[in-house]
């Protein structure tokens, strides 16, 4: 049983392929029907097949409509369910398989009933029609939908526009005297007028007379009273005639400045037109369920138009569109990070692993402030997290650049694993990860593996002096309340106390871990420092030097090779000076970013390039390389991928439990 609470306004179903977005839309379509009057025939494959291969005999769909206004409650009075003061309409759709073969007559029994558990009355056809939703199928051919022809969507839409029947009838005996009188005619009146004019047209009437007097009269026997008549094919009831007039209309696009049609417009433009049309109808109809289902509204639209479309859907949902009397509820499915980022987070529903995860307030661990924050900062560059198998949330561009490369060097391709690296900049690491945490711990959690990569931000005690933050161990700045940085000595006087305090700090950084979210904290300070400290000291130093000289290299004042060679010499010197003390060496390396103004991002790029070419070398060994990496990085990648890394020998990475 899958239960999906929906809110008013726009709801977007997001998720990967085959996550069940269309199944949700289909369920609503089956239960409520759609306005295009497509006949819904239950297919054999609609019945669920479980893991053992057995197929279910029944399908059950229940739609509960709440927040009805009084008119709607009146309209569905006999079908309502009363739960205290809360009145709702429940549609229970069920299909029971009666035979194996769909070719048998009545092979499946469908019943649509109201009430709790479907014990209320069966819905009459006309009532189901009122409940039917507007549905825009994926990969729709909007141009065809909008073109003329029998049963065209446009004619259906127009037939439902309340004003379509207005105007005066045509009276053969009182011909319209002037254009003004003509303009007062109804559509049917106009058609009658045309028909009348055709009949009285000289050519037509002449031909008719000729047929009757010159041919028929000489072929028939005396007493036969048949007469030929030339006429437009019309007739039938007024409703039928109107339908046929409407079917001849088509909606096209033209250039507004010249008012001329310039051939066919693209799929995207027609698509927008089509959606505008459906919304027009939904918003203006005085009754019926104002529900619009759109699969992949992004189809054929470029990103900016997608954003415009979302804005428009949003205002239609709020009932703010001009000419529209009421708010429309929109349920859409999308693969587009563009759309997903444009929709308010609380209106998103993630589908994954056969389950739905609403991101509405209260459903996730996100607080009210988180929603406000994410509304601002969850942009298109981050919105692909909704579609990922795994997510690595990082705090900077350097991490974002480096991680895919590091993963590749560990023989693991993040793209291949559907892992997105989301860079949240300096802030909001927690806020983003909370998207993936359900408020109800007992309910199933998302299986998307989320790894947060966090800096430890604790310098070795030698670093502040090397970085020039203080002049020595006795500098007064150590005591300054304005000091933003932390060093080891801040965590206690002896090793034992320090270790305890550092563990505390790690714990704190991991405080909101849980469900599939885990935070991986640097062992020492930052990614760059830790990379250098762990085994890539020279590589980081070279990359930082290249970054420092990046402008000069670009301006061809220096060559990369020269800078690299110089850097290597400098590094040897530094290493010699530092001796056994890696903290001193790495602090000096890190100083390039601090005092030397090397950009971390550019350095990351150089480092990524250098490491990639390292990989090309014949003697490259992933396992060996893994030992040069800080273990928290390796662990983070492994967590996001959801598996042990092929290149990493299990003994190479000490298993760290969540508490550190």
């Amino acid at each position: 049983m899958l239960e999906l609470p929906l809110s008013s306004g726009v709801t977007a179903l997001v998720g990967r392929n085959d996550s069940g977005k269309s199944a949700v839309i289909d369920a609503i379509r089956y239960a409520l029907l759609t306005r295009d009057l497509t006949y819904i025939r239950v297919q054999p494959e609609d019945f669920h097949i479980d893991a053992s291969g057995a197929q279910a005999d029944e399908i059950f769909i229940r739609c509960q409509l709440s927040d009805l206004n009084d008119d709607e409650k009146g309209a569905f009075a006999e079908y309502l369910t009363y739960n205290g003061a809360e009145i709702s309409l429940i549609v229970n759709w069920s299909a029971r398989r009666r035979s194996e073969s769909p070719s048998a007559r009545r092979w499946v029994d469908v019943s649509v009933r109201s009430g709790v558990d479907g014990t209320g009355p069966t819905f009459e056809a006309s009532v189901r029609e009122l409940l039917s939703s507007a549905y825009l199928r994926p990969l729709r051919d909007a141009a065809r939908e909008m073109s003329s022809g029998r049963g065209s969507r446009l004619s259906q839409i127009l037939a439902n526009v309340p004003e379509i029947g207005q105007g005066e009838a045509f009276d053969e005996n009182v011909l319209p005297a002037d254009p003004d009188a003509v303009s007062k005619l109804s559509l049917l009146g106009l058609a009658d007028y045309l028909r009348h004019s055709v009949k009285t047209h000289q050519g037509v009437s002449g031909a008719e007379t000729a047929i009757n007097t010159q041919y028929l009269s000489s072929l028939f026997l005396r007493g036969d009273s048949l007469q030929g008549r030339i006429d437009l094919t019309e007739g039938g009831s007024d409703a039928n005639r109107l339908r046929r007039i409407l079917e001849r209309l088509e909606l096209g696009l033209f250039e507004a400045s010249t008012s001329s049609a310039r051939g066919y417009y693209g799929l995207g433009s027609n698509n927008v037109l089509f959606m505008a049309c459906e919304l027009l109808l939904l918003g203006r109809e005085p009754e019926g369920l104002p529900l619009l289902l759109i699969e992949e509204p992004e189809a054929h639209l470029h990103p900016q138009r997608q954003l415009r479309l979302m804005d428009f859907l949003g205002s239609a949902a709020a009932g703010k569109v001009k000419e529209s009397a009421r708010a429309v509820q929109v349920i859409l499915s999308t693969h587009s990070p563009n759309l997903a980022s444009a929709i308010s987070l609380k209106n998103l529903v993630m589908l994954e692993g056969g389950r739905v995860y609403s991101l509405a307030e209260g459903e996730t661990k996100l607080g009210a402030g988180d929603y406000r924050f994410l509304e601002r900062f969850l942009d298109v560059t981050k919105a692909n997290l909704f579609f990922a198998h795994g997510v690595i949330v990082v705090e900077g561009d350097a991490e974002a650049l480096l991680l895919p490369t590091l993963a590749r060097l560990l023989a693991t391709d993040l793209t291949e694993h559907g892992v997105s690296v989301v860079n949240v900049g300096g802030t909001g690491l927690r806020r983003f990860s909370r998207i993936f945490q359900r408020s109800d711990e007992a309910s199933p959690s998302l299986s998307v593996q989320v790894a947060c990569l966090a800096d430890m931000d604790v310098m070795p005690d030698c670093a502040p002096t090397i970085l020039g933050l203080v002049t020595g161990d006795d500098d007064k700045k150590w005591q300054s309340p304005k000091r933003r940085w932390k060093a080891m000595r801040d965590f206690g006087g002896n090793d034992k106390a320090r270790e305890q305090a550092l563990t505390e700090r790690r714990k704190h950084l991991r405080a909101s871990d849980g469900q599939s979210v885990r935070t991986f904290v640097a062992d020492h300070w930052t990614l760059e420092y830790d990379l250098a400290y762990c085994g890539l000291a020279e590589e980081v130093y070279v990359a930082a030097s290249l970054a420092k000289n990046d402008a000069a290299i670009l301006e061809k004042k220096k060559t990369a090779a020269d800078v690299e060679a110089t850097a290597k010499t400098e590094f040897e010197q530094l290493a010699k000076e530092a001796g056994e003390d890696r903290a001193v060496l790495c602090s000096h390396i890190y100083n390039l970013f601090h005092s030397g103004n090397a950009s971390k991002t550019i350095a990351a790029q150089y480092l990524a390039n250098a490491l990639t070419s390292e990989r090309e070398r014949d003697d490259f060994d992933s396992a060996k390389f893994a030992r040069k990496l800080p273990r928290y990085v390796v662990e983070a990648i492994a967590h996001a991928v959801g598996a042990a890394l092929p290149a990493v020998p299990t003994d190479g990475i000490p298993v760290v439990d969540a508490d550190g």
Binding site: G74, N83, G120, T122
Partner: protein
């Protein structure tokens, strides 16, 4: 809120003309036009034979034709499905007819309305299973809950209190019980009370309810969610209640709660005839509840198409509420071949102990008034207010003639019951055959048999899966679909009863038992032994369809039909019954028999008969019911009304002479009945 006036379409002259054509109506006079055009709340008091139901259908057709709302509809409520039947008959095949019978309109009984919009939604919302509403089935269920000895403990106790187990009803939402309309005659702690409560609780939680109990749940919804009234008012801007005079206090209570006459936007149009309110029971003799008709808004339709001015004049004084400013008017009758429009309405005076001769005298008078063509088409009836057996009162007793059988001893009130609801399965089969025979269409007969089988299964605790879905046949076939044996048994039964037309006898019925049991089991009934023991399945020689047929084609001499022959080959069949059973009917000729209820009815009615009193003036409390009974009886015939009056009522000598003179002056032909023949006063 929307103004209902904007929702209810206006009626134009063309609309009136249109419906006149569609329904083949005569000219529609101003009274009727006023009703057709009315869009606001009003009461309509329509005299007998005014074509009330036809008029309502005409109005509905016009409304439906011009109705533009998809979610708001017209609600028509009555006691019977007469309006629905009339729509099906007169507007079948038309678009408006189809529209009226489906969403968003609602045309049904008051019970149907209460169930659909109030009671069932409440039950459904409060966790009760799909409801089965049927007095008989529910009582049977409750009986089974208790088992034999406990059931008889309660039944015997209640019988000693002049009631019975099947009159136990749920009284409120806490499932407290009453006995009909009075409290249970034992303390709640008493064993009988406890047992009865247990039975009622079990049946309620299984979803079995009696008809009247649905009002309890309707009230529960109105209490829990008072806004439901507003919703229903929005849904039904126009509500028409037909036969308003026969609504019970319970029904009026709900109607007023949902569709108040004032203070809401609903146009409530109540139609009825206060003069014909003769439903028996506790309310006999009291005014119609709900203050119907409300004098200031009342539109009176005083002219009847049924009869001419003569009958109208004679019946008019008996109206409790004057039919119009000039009393009851007669603008009929429809010409009938072999009948004159001016039949001598006759008053038969008989020696009190000699009531038997009256029917003969009446029969001969009828034969002299009408040709055989008229008699073949028309219905000749004799009616009395009291028709139950009273064989303890014999000729010569002061109360004699007390009841209809005193005029003809072979009369039986049981057979005369107009309720065709079969009591046994074999009766379902008979009714099914009668329906097929009369209508020539198999489907309604199949439905009847299917209903009977479902009821049998229900009595044995089955058919729960079926729900309330109509049509029954479809439901049975669906329920049996996975049970090939039961399906073929079911088809064998239909074939034997309705196609092969098997002769029904105790022996042939016994042969069908096996198939019937198969179907019952297929529908989920349990316990073959108890089904066989069930009286519902037993052989029953009574044929209710005869009574049904007698009502529709009076030519067949059946039970309660008294035949008079003139010795020259002509004859007339007189159908006897209670006034109540003849409500709504039209006869060629009607004889009202004097009966006794606290007093001889003719005696109490004499002042009105003599023209000394009219309407309610000077009427005693009990006279109200007598007036209504007399009025209903006297407005049945299209051509001839006759009265039978015991001699002593008119007094002796001078008084008698004077009364006879007055009666003749008022338009009656008066005769003494001597040896079964009329001796006319000159």
């Amino acid at each position: 809120m929307a103004d209902p006036q904007s929702v209810i379409p206006q009626v134009a002259d063309e609309d009136v003309e249109w419906i006149r054509g569609v329904m083949g109506l005569r000219e529609i006079d101003r009274f009727r036009q006023e009703f057709l055009r009315a869009r606001t709340t009003l009461d309509v008091s329509a005299c007998p034979g005014s074509g009330k139901t036809t008029l309502i259908v005409a109005k509905l057709a016009i409304m439906a034709k011009n109705w533009s709302h998809r979610t708001k509809g017209i609600c028509v409520l009555s006691h019977t499905n007469a309006a629905r039947g009339e729509i099906q008959r007169r507007l079948c095949g038309t678009v408006v007819g189809q529209q009226l019978l489906s969403y968003p309109h609602f045309i049904d009984t008051i019970h149907g309305f209460v169930n659909r919009f109030l009671a069932l939604p409440w039950l459904n919302s409060n966790g009760f299973p799909a409801a089965t509403v049927d007095d008989d089935v529910t009582s049977t269920y409750r009986r089974r809950v208790l088992g034999h000895s406990e059931y008889w403990k309660v039944e015997n106790f209640l019988r000693r209190n002049h009631s019975g187990f099947d009159r136990i009803r749920v009284k409120d939402r806490n499932l407290d019980i009453w006995l009909g309309d009075r409290p249970f005659p034992a303390r709640p702690s008493a064993e009988t009370h406890q047992l009865a409560s247990r039975a009622v609780q079990a049946s309620s939680h299984a979803g079995y309810f009696c008809y009247d109990e649905m009002f309890v749940w309707a009230k529960a919804l109105l209490e829990d969610c008072p806004s439901v009234a507003t919703l229903l008012q929005l849904r039904f801007p126009l509500v028409i209640v037909d036969e308003m005079q026969d609504t019970s206090d319970l029904q009026v209570g709900i109607l007023e709660a949902v569709f108040p006459r004032t203070g809401s936007d609903v146009s409530l149009q109540r139609v009825g005839d206060p003069n014909q309110a003769i439903f028996d029971g506790a309310r006999a003799g009291t005014a119609v509840p709900g203050g119907f008709p409300d004098a200031p808004t009342c539109l009176k339709i005083p002219n009847s198409f049924r009869f001419g001015p003569a009958i109208a004049t004679l019946a008019s004084p008996f109206a409790v509420d004057a039919a119009g400013p000039d009393g009851l008017q007669g603008v009929g009758p429809r010409p009938v071949e072999g009948a004159t429009d001016f039949c001598p309405n006759a008053l038969f005076i008989f020696q009190d102990a000699e009531a038997r001769g009256v029917l003969n005298a009446y029969g001969h008078h009828v034969l002299s008034c009408f040709g055989d063509v008229a008699l073949a088409i028309g219905d000749v009836a004799a009616v009395g207010s009291v028709h139950q057996d009273a064989s303890d009162v014999t000729a010569g007793a002061a109360q004699f003639p007390k009841t209809v059988p005193h005029y003809w001893s072979e009369y039986s009130a049981e057979v005369g019951s107009s309720d065709p609801h079969p009591r046994t399965l074999i009766q379902y089969v008979r009714v099914a055959r009668a329906v097929v025979r009369d209508g020539g269409d198999l489907a309604p007969g199949v439905e009847k048999i299917a209903s009977g089988l479902v009821r049998l299964a229900r009595r044995a605790g089955g058919a729960g899966l079926l729900g309330k879905r109509a049509p029954r046949h479809r439901a049975v076939v669906d329920a049996l679909s996975r049970n090939a044996e039961a399906v073929s048994a079911y088809r064998r039964l239909l074939r034997a009863f309705l196609i092969d037309w098997e002769t029904l006898s105790a022996a042939s019925w016994a042969q069908r038992q096996a198939d019937i049991l198969l179907v019952a089991a297929g529908l989920g009934a349990s316990g073959t032994a108890s089904i066989i023991a069930d009286e519902f399945l037993g052989w029953d020689p009574n044929d209710p369809s005869l009574a049904v047929r007698a009502a529709t084609s009076p030519q067949d001499a059946g039970p309660n039909v008294y035949r008079v022959e003139d010795g020259c080959g002509r004859r007339v069949d007189i159908r006897l019954g209670s006034v109540h059973s003849m409500k709504g009917q039209t006869h060629l000729a009607t004889l009202l028999l004097s009966t006794y209820w606290h007093e001889h009815s003719a005696k109490r009615m004499l002042p009105w008969l003599l023209g000394e009193r009219t309407n309610l003036s000077g009427a005693g409390v009990q006279d109200r019911a007598r007036l209504q009974q007399t009025y209903v009886a006297m407005t049945r015939p299209s051509h001839l009304i006759c009265l039978a009056i015991p001699r002593t009522v008119l007094g002796e000598d001078a008084a008698l002479t004077g009364h006879v003179a007055t009666l003749k002056e008022r338009g009656w032909r008066v005769a003494d009945v001597v040896d079964g023949a009329a001796s006319w006063y000159s």
